[in-house]
């Protein structure tokens, strides 16, 4: 992705900090302070009322929800140093960006890299303003870990394709305006027969059915495509180039999944040991009353520290070597495993009180923890399962060969 000049002189950055402070003061409604985490539904910041909508529009127009994206497509056009200043200043006053979702995390960066000028001009500004919701049409019932075996077929019909087939695990499919999808344009080749297309979700022939998960919520959908017309101008890259583009997008996804594990688990959350002490008490020597649980919590917290040290090392190495460290490939596996471990320990500490499903007798935090524990089981499956990550490590890093 194109970013502007890397290093700005310190004095320039300090000037910029002044501008950021002034702009945030004028535009961020203090009533929204710290409410960013509450945004989960399809309405986004708009669910928080007129002030939420005003804030989304203000930061969207400024391009600061996508601070390092090019200015010409509605991004902030900031250098990394400036983006860091913006991030710091927003964190300092409890401001948060309402511009999020798959458009930001995965699709936008990929389209900036592979899209035509027309495609970028059409789609990127709307993503920057938080006006269009994107969903991912990758997995199919018969193509999960073996994604390249996908079957949804796009038949050539002159100036458009006619698409027939089914996608599944379409995150946010019921709310999405657009879908970026991998389709098959050639049945004779596996990887080279795949093409990357953009599908308007209002096109006739698309049916979306939410999937109810073990956590009781429906973040994913099954999406059925019957005789859906997709103009060829909505193809990204060439026919048969979809696997390359699609994999690049997955890299953005994995980076976000592992990177997100830190903030989700490390910041804001009380240490497990504190939760356990509050729930179970301590003995005369000041140790957690359940000695066996104490050991397992210590084991978790030690591994968690090693994980954070590793995440920091990946960043340092990438900076020093000017590329992605091979160690980054293990972050998703380790971060998601530890996230699940933490959730298991949390409900174990709480006993049956930690298994509340709904209704009286439970705090909203307890009910939330139950659902989080269950929905967290997805983390080691999606975005390349732990088993697939192990295949990647063995083959690409360790040079262990394919079975013949």
């Amino acid at each position: 992705m194109a970013t502007t000049a890397e290093a700005a002189p310190q004095s320039t950055l300090e000037d910029f900090r002044g501008q950021v402070c002034g702009w945030l003061e004028a535009n961020f409604p203090p009533s929204l302070k710290g409410k960013g985490m509450a945004i989960v539904g399809p309405e986004g910041a708009d669910a928080l009322g007129p002030e939420g909508t005003a804030w989304r529009k203000a930061i969207g127009e400024k391009g600061w929800g996508t601070p390092t994206w090019p200015r010409e497509y509605g991004g902030g056009g900031l250098s990394r140093g400036e983006a860091k200043v913006l991030q710091d200043e927003m964190a300092r006053i409890g401001a948060w960006s309402p511009i999020g979702g798959m458009g930001i995390m995965m699709f936008g960066p990929t389209l900036l890299e592979y899209g035509s000028d027309e495609q970028k001009a059409r789609h990127i500004p709307a993503i920057c303003r938080g006006e269009v919701r994107w969903c991912q049409g990758y997995s199919e019932p018969g193509a999960g870990s073996d994604l390249a075996s996908l079957q949804m077929f796009a038949a050539d019909a002159g100036d458009h394709y006619v698409v027939n087939g089914q996608k599944t695990w379409t995150s946010g499919g019921q709310w999405a305006d657009w879908c970026f999808a991998l389709v098959r344009t050639d049945k004779t080749k596996k990887h080279e027969g795949i093409t990357f297309v953009l599908i308007d979700m209002t096109t006739p022939g698309i049916e979306v059915k939410p999937i109810r998960m073990i956590s009781g919520i429906s973040p994913f959908c099954e999406t059925f495509f019957t005789e859906v017309s997709v103009p060829k101008e909505n193809r990204v890259g060439a026919e048969g180039q979809g696997w390359t583009i699609g994999k690049r997008l997955l890299q953005h996804e994995r980076t976000n999944l592992s990177g997100g594990a830190g903030p989700r688990l490390g910041l804001g959350a009380a240490p497990l040991s504190q939760v356990a002490k509050d729930a179970l008490g301590i003995d005369a020597a000041g140790k957690l009353a359940d000695p066996e649980l104490r050991v397992r919590i210590a084991r978790f917290e030690i591994e968690w520290r090693a994980f954070l040290l590793t995440a920091a090392r990946v960043v340092q190495e990438a900076k020093a070597q000017g590329g992605v460290s091979v160690v980054s490939s293990i972050l998703k596996t380790v971060g998601t495993k530890l996230g699940q471990e933490r959730a298991e320990l949390l409900i174990e500490i709480a006993g049956l009180q930690g298994l509340g499903w709904e209704g009286d007798g439970f705090t909203s935090a307890e009910l939330e923890a139950t659902r989080t524990w269950l929905s967290g089981k997805a983390t080691t499956i999606y975005g390349g399962s732990t088993e697939i990550q192990n295949n990647v490590v063995a083959k690409q890093i360790l040079g262990m060969l394919d079975h013949q």
């Binding site: 520290r305 090392r313 360790l398």
Partner: protein, 366 residues
């Protein structure tokens, strides 16, 4: 790999090159079979000293380079890859007790000799088979012209080659550290042959008299030196784990069964991917510990993380390395079997994983 300074990169490369070319595992085998009294080859120690490796954590005014603990850790990690039998870690730890302590006479007397490699030092702390830093029965009694030490120290590393022992002893209620020449009257050192064929020994202190200046530090220094010892043991295990992993990977890529190179089998690929992942976490934890010793930030907890993670990873790698080699991994002729025999000694040294989990929890207040 941590991001290194130019100086550290040169040091690491030099250590790597020397170890691979001049100190192959065959040399360790020779030490084991030749059983030198010191537990290491004195000529090899002189060579390592000439390269400056004995002075890495000693200030320049005493003849060292003061490169710091991460730098020393790099050298230990590299030399550990071929199980190089060397007292440089033990000697650096003895030196650190003097550096951190407050006896100028002790510094003047010993630091230049430790830095040059002319003298070898070691820590005589633990008194039993398991690490128990609070369980010190050895006493130091203050007299008109100095101190008298009485007690027994178990499994002192490099004891049979040491010129200087840093002894932890009770002075009433408190623990203090004393610099005791290994040839002082009343000191006897009995070799204890462990699975790693190194120079361990039981040290008996029978009315050993030392001058007042031999008291070099208090309980705070004792704690600080222990954290340094734990971290260097972890650094040695990092080198051993990495090498055992690399050796095993190379073996899987050439061993043929069922008409195939066994590295193609997914059952083995996933075990290797898991070991790779754990060794990378271990590397972060160990380098984090070494860096904390240099920065002084959050040392005890960071060291507990380093030693706990290093112990558990080393333990698993040493077992998997044998299993994945199959029968040949059980033979004395094959080098991989040496790893487990040194690994368990280091796992015990300065605290097991259980010890450090308990310590981590205690430091965190639970």
């Amino acid at each position: 790999m941590a991001v290194l300074s130019e100086e550290q990169t040169m040091l690491r490369d030099m250590a790597r090159e020397w170890t691979q070319n001049e100190s192959p595992v065959g040399n360790y085998r020779k030490v084991r079979d030749g059983k030198p009294k010191e537990g290491f080859d004195p000529a090899v120690h002189r060579t390592m000293a000439e390269m400056g490796w004995t002075g890495i954590v000693i200030p320049e005014e005493y003849g060292g380079t003061d490169f710091g603990w991460l730098s020393l850790g790099l050298v230990i990690e590299e030399t550990a890859k071929t199980l190089t039998a060397s007292p440089i870690a033990a000697s650096a730890l003895a030196a650190s007790a003097l550096v951190l302590g407050d006896s100028d006479a002790g510094k003047q007397e010993w630091l230049p000799r430790l830095a040059s490699g002319e003298a070898v030092g070691s820590l005589a702390f633990d008194e039993g088979a398991r690490h128990a830093p609070d369980a010190i029965a050895t006493t130091a009694t203050l007299e008109a012209d100095g101190w008298t030490l009485q007690g027994r120290k178990a499994f002192v590393q490099e004891a049979t080659g040491a010129d200087l022992l840093i002894v932890a002893a009770k002075t009433g209620e408190d623990i203090a550290l004393f610099a005791v020449p290994a040839d002082a009257a009343g000191v006897t050192i009995a070799p204890r042959h462990l699975t790693d064929s190194r120079g361990h020994g039981e040290v008996t202190l029978a009315g050993v008299h030392v001058p007042a200046s031999a008291r070099i530090g208090d309980a705070k220094i004792y704690e600080a030196v222990l954290d340094r010892a734990r971290t260097l043991a972890a650094a040695e295990m990092l080198g051993m784990s990495q090498q055992a992993f690399d050796t095993t990977l190379a073996y899987l890529k050439q061993r043929v069964q069922f008409g195939e190179i066994i590295a193609r089998f997914q059952a083995l690929q996933h075990r290797m991917a898991d070991l790779f992942t754990r060794i990378e976490l271990m590397r972060s934890a160990v380098e984090g510990g070494l860096a904390a010793l240099d920065s002084g930030v959050d040392v005890p907890a960071t060291v507990a993380v380093a030693k706990a993670v290093a112990n558990e990873t080393m333990h698993l790698v040493s077992r998997e390395a044998i299993q994945l080699h199959g029968g040949i991994g059980m033979t004395d002729e094959y080098d991989i079997g040496f790893v487990i025999k040194r690994a368990r000694v280091l796992e015990n040294a300065w605290g097991s994983a259980a010890f450090h989990r308990d310590r981590f929890a205690t430091l965190a207040g639970y």
